[in-house]
């Protein structure tokens, strides 16, 4: 590795668990003195319902806490540090303006049950966001309630089930292509549906006649991920929708990959009935180490009677929550939804506008195809055609030198990059799924490409270097088998030594 490589080593700290720090009586808080009578707790609540102590709870100062988390943060990789090409995850830059706006007291300190008369700003924002998302998707209505992509999927399938039930029969099965997202089968199963897998064809897309063969009146609908997990646009989507609609089924689109065509085409114009959006992907809200996200669901008019409550309505100049939807599926979470996340998505949309959103999709697709064109040859490309927002390679060349996808991924860390998504989609053996997003400049992509090519060379010339990677992070490869065989899921106080 040369001086030009981004990844290097720096001073990082060891930091024990908080439970192994501090001393009795140490504290990190200060509360105002009590201004009401200081009655004893057991005068107000029977003693048998009270606890004395929280055994093991920390006793540390504010300084201890700040150093603890600052040191731990340095063991993490984030988009702020470098390229994070996790396929299917759309790791784009998280604008800081959005964070500041979410912290304005009028948003952060607003209670979800406060009177509508003093919530007009929040309601207006939600109402406008619904209009924007409906327009972006070519849909009629949007539920902002679901808390994540998979939660949106679940809500979408519930809506389909409610629609069929209202026609007298909820039906039994959901069709799911093998190139769909991993959560789709579980979301269907939670709704009581049997999952029927659909094989994608040699071009990496679902063929309409294959759908027609399994489509019957027992099928509630199909869940299509578009572009699919190979990064390929399902170009038969219009015909597939016709086949499914022909037997009274509904078409669900997993919209996690919307960043590939936002502003260029709209799911609603392709015959999609319902789609979830992952605002933590397409609309730049931070992943935060795995949440919070939000998964609004956009849908066509015929599904609107079943929307979760409350919806946001507008009467004249006033905005209001509407709980009165007799056919509603109910609620999928408390209150109106993850307002703070939705607000960040709103801010992002208003920052980019129609031109910026389209530009994001275009550059995301150019970036992905640029990587595809440059790594072809060094890595095996199972579907050799233009991609959308992500490209999928595998380790077919490197396995000859006994270097696997996992090794390549780990070695990338040493070069200063987060690895791509690996071993997914399942239909590509040893998949390396690379999604650069529009966030990365040509120079960064060139550095990434150079690192990938260097690793391909290392695989041939010095396999052990790759197989033993990573070398730069604070810890090396973890024993995941041990973690699963002897689960240690919490700290416990050691018994006093004898």
């Amino acid at each position: 590795m040369s001086q030009q490589t981004v990844g290097t080593r720096g001073l990082v700290f060891n930091e024990p668990l908080i439970f192994e720090q501090g001393s009795p009586g140490r504290m990190g808080y200060s509360l105002p003195a009590s201004d009401v009578p200081e009655k004893k707790a057991d005068r107000l609540i029977p003693k048998k319902l009270l606890r004395d102590d929280i055994p093991g709870f920390p006793e540390v100062s504010e300084v201890d806490v700040v150093r603890h988390f600052t040191r731990m943060s340095q063991w993490n990789y984030g988009i702020d540090l470098g390229m994070y090409p996790l396929g299917s995850c759309t790791m784009k830059y998280n604008p800081r303006l959005n964070e500041d706006m979410a912290r304005l007291p009028g948003f952060a300190r607003a209670h979800p049950y406060q009177p509508e008369a003093v919530s007009q700003g929040a309601l207006q924002l939600l109402w406008e966001l619904e209009q924007y998302l409906a327009e972006i998707c070519g849909m009629d209505r949007v539920s902002l309630q679901p808390s994540a992509g998979a939660h949106g999927e679940l809500t979408g399938i519930m809506l389909i089930r409610a629609y069929h039930t209202s026609k007298g029969n909820p039906r039994k099965k959901i069709l799911i292509p093998d190139s769909a997202h991993g959560t789709n089968p579980a979301s269907s199963a939670v709704c009581g549906y049997q999952v029927v897998p659909v094989k994608s064809g040699p071009r990496g897309v679902v063929e309409p006649q294959v759908v027609a063969e399994v489509m019957d009146e027992d099928v509630a609908g199909i869940m299509v991920t578009n572009p699919n997990t190979l990064g390929i646009f399902e170009d038969h989507i219009v015909e597939i929708a016709k086949v499914v609609h022909g037997k009274g089924g509904q078409v669900y689109c997993d919209g996690a990959n919307l960043n590939a065509f936002i502003g260029i085409a709209r799911p609603g114009d392709m015959g999609i009935d319902v789609i979830q959006l992952n605002v933590h992907k397409t609309f730049s809200t931070p992943h935060g180490g795995g949440g919070p996200g939000a998964g609004p669901v956009a849908l066509k008019r015929h599904l609107a009677p079943f929307l979760p409550v409350p919806t946001v309505g507008k009467k004249g100049l006033e905005f209001a929550l509407n709980y009165d939807l007799p056919k509603s599926i109910g609620k999928v979470r408390s209150f109106v939804g993850s307002f703070g996340v939705l607000l960040r998505a709103y801010t992002y949309i208003r920052t980019l506008g129609p031109t910026g959103l389209r530009r994001a999709a275009e550059v995301a697709v150019i970036n992905a195809n640029y990587i595809l064109s440059q790594l072809k040859g060094a890595y095996h490309l199972p579907y050799d055609r233009f991609c959308k927002h992500e490209c999928v390679f595998d380790d077919a060349i490197q396995v000859h030198d006994n270097v696997k996808t996992l090794d390549i991924a780990k070695r990338l860390m040493d070069y200063g990059f987060h690895p791509p998504t690996i071993y997914f989609p399942l239909i590509v053996h040893g998949a390396l799924m690379i999604e650069p997003t529009e966030t990365e400049s040509k120079e960064t992509l060139d550095q990434f490409i150079a690192a990938m090519k260097a690793i391909a060379r290392e695989a041939m010339e010095n396999g052990d270097l790759v197989r033993n990677a990573p070398h730069n992070p604070r810890v090396s490869r973890m024993d995941e088998t041990k973690a699963a065989r002897q689960p240690n899921l919490r700290w416990r106080q050691k018994p006093p030594s004898l």
């Binding site: 908080i18 990190g28 795995g290 979760p308 699963a484």
Partner: protein, 448 residues
């Protein structure tokens, strides 16, 4: 566009390398018939300064708990939150990281999650906790689905004193797979009516679901409820919407609870008009493999150094697909991090002190308001920081009058409980001063 580095010239070079004439060529697989031939009809881009002004304007139209004197609780609580939380979670290494799939470069998030799981266990008195879920209501629904998997039974009994939105969410989830619901009423003290529910608490029941403190703020006798559930082979699910109460109350795990699910917002997370929040979920050791959601476990690296990984993934949807314990993929890592920092900063004595202040201030408010003409404390049971007040005046009129005085006077229960249509649910936290409580009593007609 300041978020997109590549210029037209950069793009041109890349398109040449790719070997296409224009970006259009890369979209030729999208059928022409469905390609959008016009710009999206959304407002044009705003500069950072202009957008900031616009959002400040919207925010100013909302009441916030600093400018108003608010007595709203009901599943979302206005507590003091130390300044360091906002600073620490803003570190890009936490904020802009994905789910920790690559443990070697995610140890910060992973160790924080392991500490979170431990703190939730300590707080609830349970053996194991997952790494967080969406929020309290869906976590409670997941608890019911888990009880159904564990027992193989298809009926559940849910106390009417469980948060109405939690009940609604559990219904939405459970109706997909034909679970029958029975309701357990409440006694004049406001507690779950165990006696009245004897006939439905049978050996067909997967779980009994109660909330503690319940929606009316009343502290339940969980041991009694656990005994009754276990007598018919059902699990006891305890929902907690106000975890600050656990600074004082006996933990559900010591009372026989099998699953504790709830909302962690009260632990240092802003109210944010409804989210993002934090669902917590804890259970007993024997149910580890039935637990939904992400789990972090301790292990070692090749050199024997302690480290942490996501573990027991064989329960999860990307491996088990339709046979997974849940479809949940995301947790609420950043919000769990907020709660972790909150719990560690307040620590053993701080959480107890906050809980005690809540209890005392609410007790003071109860005493003051109970003496106001036309007001009465509706339930006789012991309460934590919320209570139900019966009022002579029509609640909507009363609340409107209070709002004119910058007081948000609690929740009108008529939409949620027709039988309590003349009642308000009030919450008093450490953020409410005695002065605010006295002003509320005065505005409601209590003199002084």
């Amino acid at each position: 566009m300041r978020y997109i580095p590549n210029t037209d010239a950069d793009c041109r070079k890349m398109l040449d390398t790719i070997g296409v004439r224009s970006v259009e060529d890369l979209f030729s697989d999208i059928p022409a018939s469905v390609r959008l031939k016009r710009p999206l009809r959304i407002p044009p881009a705003l500069s950072e300064a202009d957008l900031g002004k616009h959002l400040h304007g919207l925010a100013a139209k909302n009441a916030d708990a600093d400018r108003y004197s608010s007595f709203l609780g009901a599943g979302c609580y206005h507590h003091f939150s130390p300044a360091i939380i906002g600073h620490l979670i803003s570190r890009g290494e936490f904020l802009t990281a994905y789910t920790p799939y690559q443990p070697e470069i995610s140890q910060g998030t992973l160790q924080a999650m392991y500490e979170y799981q431990t703190l939730i266990c300590q707080l609830t008195g349970m053996d194991v906790s997952n790494a967080s879920m969406y929020e309290g209501a869906s976590a409670t629904a997941e608890a019911i689905l888990m009880a159904h998997r564990v027992t193989g039974r298809n009926e559940v009994v849910v106390a009417r004193s469980v948060h109405p939105e939690y009940r609604q969410v559990t219904h939405t989830y459970a109706q997909q797979i034909d679970i029958t619901f029975h309701e357990m009423g409440f006694t004049p003290s406001g507690a779950a009516d165990l006696k009245g529910a004897k006939s439905v608490l049978t050996d067909r029941v997967a779980c009994l679901v109660v909330q503690n403190p319940n929606f009316f703020g009343v502290v339940e006798d969980l041991s009694e409820l656990a005994e009754a559930a276990h007598a018919v082979g059902a699990l006891l699910v305890v929902a907690v919407t106000e975890p600050v109460s656990l600074g004082l109350l006996k933990p559900p795990g010591e009372c026989g609870a099998d699953i504790v699910a709830g909302e962690g917002q009260a632990l240092g997370v802003p109210m944010s008009y409804g989210g993002p929040y934090l669902g917590f979920f804890a259970t007993q050791e024997k149910y580890i493999r039935q637990l939904p959601g992400r789990l972090v476990g301790a292990t070692e690296d090749r050199e024997g150094r302690t480290g942490y990984v996501l573990t027991l993934a064989t329960r999860e949807q990307h491996i088990r697909r339709e046979k997974a314990t849940s479809n949940i993929c995301t947790s609420e890592a950043l919000i769990a991090l907020m709660a972790t920092i909150y719990m560690e900063t307040l620590g053993k004595s701080g959480l107890k002190e906050v809980a005690l202040q809540n209890l005392r201030k609410a007790a003071y408010a109860k005493e003051r308001l109970g003496k106001v003409r036309g007001c009465a404390i509706r339930f006789s049971g012991p309460t934590f920081n919320e209570f139900v007040l019966q009022v002579k005046k029509k609640p909507p009129d009363l609340l409107k009058g209070l709002l004119r005085k910058q007081i948000i006077g609690g929740l009108d229960l008529s939409r949620l409980y027709p039988e309590l249509k003349d009642c308000l649910l009030l919450c008093v936290t450490e953020q409410n001063s005695r002065e605010q409580i006295d002003a509320l009593a005065k505005a409601m007609g209590g003199g002084r």
